[in-house]
């Protein structure tokens, strides 16, 4: 009970803090915030990424949307509490020592949760806009064609909180949601991942969708 309340208060404060700092606004370009099962896949440059997506989702959707996060960072201590209780994160072990990440993710999808995932698998700190995708996104999409896979582009967060930094700098950010994708019949892994990648890149600000 107290735990639930604390989680709620922390959740509201995190969202309020993210708003005050980055003035983040959602841009629902290719779909609307609807209460249906979805997988939001986004570019990953900072620990603040899923916080921003979570912040711009309407309250009702927040509760049903779980970020997929690495247990080595979000597993223990205060971060563990925030990860588990506030964001209800799906924690995966990237080394695969205990369980394959993909099976943990599949299980969460079976339970009806919407997910936030980062198909690059790790934070991108280089100069290229996106790292190569892991195959997980394709495996998820081909296993569950009934779920909408929504490409998301988070802009500017890399500058707010670069990898390895602790304090965030206030800069304006935006979160753009694109048109949902699905694996087409006969589409192979590389073709789907390329399509997903292009869909994300097309959402970058200053590039209007065709």
């Amino acid at each position: 009970m107290i735990k639930r309340l604390a989680a709620r208060v922390i959740g509201m404060s995190v969202a309020g803090f993210a708003r005050a700092l980055t003035g983040v606004l959602p841009n629902w370009r290719g779909c609307l915030p609807e209460a249906r099962q979805r997988v939001y896949f986004a570019n990953h440059a900072s620990h603040g990424d899923f916080v921003l997506i979570w912040t711009v989702l309407p309250h009702a959707l927040r509760r049903a949307t779980r970020p997929v996060a690495a247990v080595d960072y979000w597993g223990g201590g205060v971060r563990g509490f925030i990860g588990r209780e506030v964001f209800n994160a799906v924690l995966v072990d990237r080394s695969g020592a205990t369980r394959e990440p993909i099976s943990v993710i599949m299980e969460a999808m079976e339970q009806g949760a919407s997910l936030i995932i980062f198909p690059e698998g790790t934070r991108n700190t280089g100069d290229q806009p996106l790292l190569p995708f892991k195959s997980g996104l394709y495996r998820m999409a081909s296993a569950r064609p009934d779920i909408e896979f929504v490409p998301v582009w988070i802009d500017n967060i890399r500058r707010v909180m670069p990898k390895g930094e602790f304090l965030p700098v206030p800069l304006l950010c935006s979160v753009t949601f694109g048109e949902p994708l699905a694996v087409k019949p006969g589409q192979d892994k590389d073709a789907f991942l390329t399509e997903a990648r292009d869909a994300m890149l097309a959402l970058r600000p200053g590039r209007s969708a065709a």
């Binding site: 500017n156 304090l167 700098v169």
Partner: protein
């Protein structure tokens, strides 16, 4: 918590102009009927924004010196954030930006609050210009990023010239 007489006259004047402007804007929108023109819509949005601005300044005036200083501190914060979001910064500038936002702005407005004219009038153009590029140089590239300190300076001094 009361306004000085000049401020009352000022707000009555500004309020009067805004009431007239709102009346004209709404009349134009009404005459356009169900074929609203972009120009009139834009005008009405602007008039609404002016109401908000005047309201905020009025509210700040009610709280006296502290309220006004706080309002301008937040305007500086917003302006600097807007400015830096549009410009190029490097990873090595992270600490420079942190210092500008979280030490620079509070310090500058604190100095205005205690009315230390000799220091707040030179804090940015002298000390800011000295310290911020050094921070960038120490933390990141050997080339110091003058751009960010230029912008910091322009926003900052803009906020103090009003006084």
């Amino acid at each position: 918590m009361s306004l000085p007489a000049e401020a009352k006259t000022l707000f009555m004047g500004v309020g009067g102009v805004l009431v007239v402007a709102t009346a004209i804007g709404q009349a134009l929108a009404w005459r356009a009927g169900d074929r609203p023109s972009n120009l009139v819509q834009n005008l009405n949005q602007r008039i609404f924004a002016w109401w908000v601005m005047v309201g905020l300044i009025g509210l700040a005036f009610l709280f006296g010196k502290g309220g006004t200083i706080l309002l301008f501190a937040f305007i500086s914060f917003g302006a600097l954030r807007e400015f830096l979001s549009l410009t190029h910064t490097r990873r090595g500038d992270h600490w420079t930006l942190l210092v500008a936002f979280f030490i620079g702005i509070p310090l500058q407005y604190y100095l205005i609050w205690i009315d230390w004219y000799g220091l707040y009038s030179i804090l940015v153009p002298v000390y800011g210009f000295l310290v911020l590029p050094i921070l960038s140089a120490v933390r990141g590239d050997p080339r110091s990023d003058r751009q960010s300190s230029f912008i910091t300076a322009s926003v900052w001094t803009g906020s103090t010239r009003g006084r």
